[in-house]
Symmetry: C2
Subunit: 76 residues, 2 copies
Amino acid sequence: MKLKIFVTLKPGVLDPQGKAIHHALESLGFAGVNDVRAGKLIELEVADATTDAQIDEMCRQLLANTVIENYRVERA
Amino acid sequence: MKLKIFVTLKPGVLDPQGKAIHHALESLGFAGVNDVRAGKLIELEVADATTDAQIDEMCRQLLANTVIENYRVERA
C-alpha cells in the first residue's frame, strides 16, 4: 500500500524556509506571490496489513512534530 | 489562488533522507515498511491572474531541480 504523508507547519508558526522561497521568487521577477509555506511530503510503501492506528503512530512519533506541524495521510 | 507544488525525487535517484526515515521507523519497531521517499510540499498563495506558464517557470527556475526532481502542481 502506498501512502503519502503531507506535513505542514501550523498556521501562525514562523516559516523561514517559506520566507526565503518567497523572497527568491520576487528576486527572480515573479510578481503576485502573496505567501509561501514550505512543508514536507513523505511517501511510504507499507504492508497492506498496516492499520490506520499504526500509520498515525508513525506520524506522531517520527514524521511530524505535532507541536508545530499538522499532518495529513493520503492512501494512493 | 492557492497552489500546492509537490516536489519528489525522480525514480532511481538516491534518497538518503528517505533511507534515514526508513531506518528510524524500523528502529521504533514499525514493521512492514518497504520503502520511504522524502519530498517537498510548497504551498503558494498567488494572484489569480498568474498563468500556468508562470507557475511552470517558478518550478523550473527555483522550486524544483529538474535534473533530479519531478514536480506536480495542484490548484486548491
